[in-house]
């Protein structure tokens, strides 16, 4: 039986706007007393990456990929109208003016509210990322079975 009091969100996208939508829902769910698990996979990993430039154990190809798509919540761009960064800057400015929490602030708030973060180990392997490349807020490093175990118990499951 699905537990109506819990929610899972797969964060597949590394786009700023989609990340904001995911955390908006996670934070609202947590405020409504729901247990919330967020599973970060593929480009979504960049949202919870520290965003350092360490070579680590990355292959030359993985290192190049990492340079072209640097991780970190502050470096996320809009999925539309980025316009070489101008659109994203404008949006961030507007959000600040309307006192909306930034992506980083939303992540901190989610953590404060007990939202659990799970990073996908398969995507990490493809991108040459290690546990130390992620922010401390990550609770677990796991795979699809962990996600599905949670999803089958939850009343709300989203893929963003």
């Amino acid at each position: 039986m699905a537990d109506q009091e819990s929610m899972t969100i797969i964060v597949f996208s590394g786009d700023l706007d989609k990340g904001l939508a995911a955390f908006n829902l996670a934070n609202t769910g947590a405020s409504m007393g729901m247990k919330v698990d967020m599973f970060f996979t593929f480009w979504g990993l960049s949202v919870i990456e520290r965003g350092g430039l360490e070579r680590g154990s990355k292959s030359p190809m993985q290192y190049m990929m990492g340079l072209m798509n640097r991780g970190g919540a502050e470096r996320r761009k809009l999925s539309k109208m980025n316009m070489g960064g101008m659109g994203t800057r404008t949006m961030k400015g507007l959000m600040q003016r309307y006192r909306m929490p930034s992506l980083s602030e939303s992540i901190a708030l989610a953590k404060e509210q007990g939202v659990r973060f799970i990073a996908c180990t398969t995507s990490m392997a493809i991108m040459g990322l290690e546990e130390k490349d992620f922010i401390d807020a990550v609770d677990e490093f796991a795979g699809a079975a962990t996600y599905l175990g949670l999803a089958t118990e939850a009343g709300v499951n989203l893929f963003i």
Binding site: N24, G33, M100, L109
Partner: protein
Amino acid sequence: MQADKIIDCVGLYCPMPIVKTAQAIKDLSPGQVLEVLADDVGIKSDMPAWAKKTGNEVLGIEEASGEIKVYVRKGAA
């Protein structure tokens, strides 16, 4: 209506008024009333939805010159 605690969410948009309400109501005892001052009209639907889900009760919503006052009574749970 007399409130035991007031929070000011004017200028804040979804989900912040709800997040702040959830945080503020933790400090109250069952039966006590929280007044939420806001100006995002979404709160008129969102607060009853939140209250229903969390076992609290919206006692009333007052609106005057763009400001919305929502009174929430903390449930027993």
